[in-house]
């Protein structure tokens, strides 16, 4: 019976695939743990930076530091963060869709892109949208240096008034099973810390203005670093979920195929018995 052989072959192939998806899930879980640790490790710094920023910014009343000054958003730069690899569910397409939606909604007169991650680069390379900077290796080795270089480009363009605002589109790491696409303004810096301003009257060395000037670029750099970390963790989470689902689907499929296989085998046995029995009956008669 050729049919049973075919089914057996399919069962074997699905089993192989399942082994791969299972392994990928394990790998994603291990990488996720590492990515999560990095996010946690950056938290104390984030808290400290926020506190210091708020106290300086409230102290330096009415500064129009260029990085804080909002102007009409005509030309905008979108930072689109995807993964380098696929097989992580809708992770990449969600981000790209969110970026396209943002462009459609806001009617910016000119948009530039800074795609991070190979998937975003592959997608936007074939579209008629100018790309500010190729960033294909940023995720490969996620370091502070990368965040620093990107932030330099952004700050230069913003201060040189080549762009009026910078938005980041990325997957936020909510939990292991949940990612959430966020569109977040990076530049100009939002003054949302004003309410938290401390009452303390500080002395400043060298001076409050100088400190603010040093702090703001650091803030941008850190925001980028945070976005990259979030996205990296979210990617592993998404891949874990996707591979878990794939493994389960493979199990279902194997079960179904095994059932069919047994049924066909049984049918062929029954058929053979009937043939033998009827053959015997014919020779007796």
């Amino acid at each position: 019976m050729a049919n049973t052989i075919d089914i057996r072959r399919r069962i074997r192939s699905v089993k192989n695939t399942q082994q791969i998806t299972k392994a990928m899930k394990m790998v994603a879980a291990a990488k996720l743990r590492r990515a999560q640790e990095r996010i946690f490790a950056a938290r104390p710094y984030a808290a400290a930076l926020r506190e210091v920023l708020s106290s300086v910014a409230t102290r330096v009343e009415g500064t129009d530091h260029p990085l804080l000054s909002a102007r009409e958003e005509n030309s905008v730069l979108l930072l689109v963060v995807t993964a380098d690899k696929g097989l992580c569910g809708a992770f990449n397409s969600n981000v790209i869709r969110a970026a396209l939606n943002a462009m459609r909604e806001h009617h910016w007169s000119s948009v530039q892109l800074l795609p991070i991650g190979r998937k975003a680069n592959d997608y936007f390379r074939r579209r008629p949208i100018p790309i500010r900077r190729q960033e294909t290796h940023a995720l490969h080795a996620l370091t502070l240096q990368t965040a620093h270089e990107i932030s330099q480009t952004l700050i230069e363009d913003f201060i040189g008034e080549k762009i009026d605002a910078v938005y980041g589109v990325y997957n936020e790491f909510k939990s292991i099973i949940a990612q959430h696409v966020r569109v977040e303004r990076i530049l100009p810096i939002e003054r949302d810390w004003d309410e938290v301003g401390t009452e303390v009257d500080y002395l400043y060395e060298p001076g409050p203005v100088q400190i603010l000037e040093d702090l703001l670029p650091k803030h941008i750099e850190f925001q980028l670093y945070r976005i990259l970390l979030e996205s990296a963790a979210a990617e592993q989470g998404a891949r874990m979920t996707a591979m878990e689902a794939a493994t389960k689907n493979a199990s279902d499929m194997i079960e179904h195929l095994t059932l069919t296989y047994n049924r066909i085998r049984q049918a062929s046995i029954t058929k053979e018995i009937i043939e033998i029995v009827s053959g015997a009956a014919a020779s007796e008669g």
């Binding site: 710094y45 930076l49 502070l144 500080y202 400043y204 060395e205 060298p206 040093d214």
Partner: protein
């Protein structure tokens, strides 16, 4: 009645990659951008930027040194937070690597003019490696 001065303060040193120190300290010396600052409990609130250099602190009895490069410090009467670009505890420093780094930075510096934007970066690396060597020697 005057307020009682605290006898210790909470010292925290963080970088973007990790929290390095969190302890109660009785004294610390920071490499502020305008020169070293000594901090004792009850210091007036101060925000300062930091440059490359050696930071020291003393808990009850024990002293410890770190090499910092740039960053900021927030000083309050009962708390000191140091946010550094990079920070290395004295015992983590590899003197051979620091020495190699010093030589490399010196060589690079010789080819750069002082107007080059790279100059400050390499100079910082040189200062950091020198500070590391000094800390290691216990200077």
């Amino acid at each position: 009645m005057a307020d009682q001065l605290p006898t210790k303060f909470r010292l925290t040193v963080v970088t973007r990659e990790r929290k390095i120190v969190e302890t109660d300290a009785v004294e610390t010396v920071l490499p502020a951008s305008d020169g070293e600052i000594g901090v004792l409990p009850g210091h007036a609130p101060l925000l300062t930027s930091l440059k490359v250099g050696i930071m020291r602190y003393r808990t009850n009895g024990e002293g410890q040194s770190l090499v910092l490069s740039w960053g900021f410090a927030e000083i309050l009467p009962e708390r000191v937070i140091v946010m550094a670009e990079t920070a290395h505890l004295a015992q983590e420093i590899d003197p051979a690597a620091a020495e190699a780094e010093r030589l490399a930075a010196e060589k690079e510096l010789a080819y750069l003019s002082s107007h080059d934007p790279e100059f400050a970066v390499v100079e910082g690396r040189l200062e950091e490696s020198v500070a590391m060597i000094n800390v290691h020697r216990g200077i």
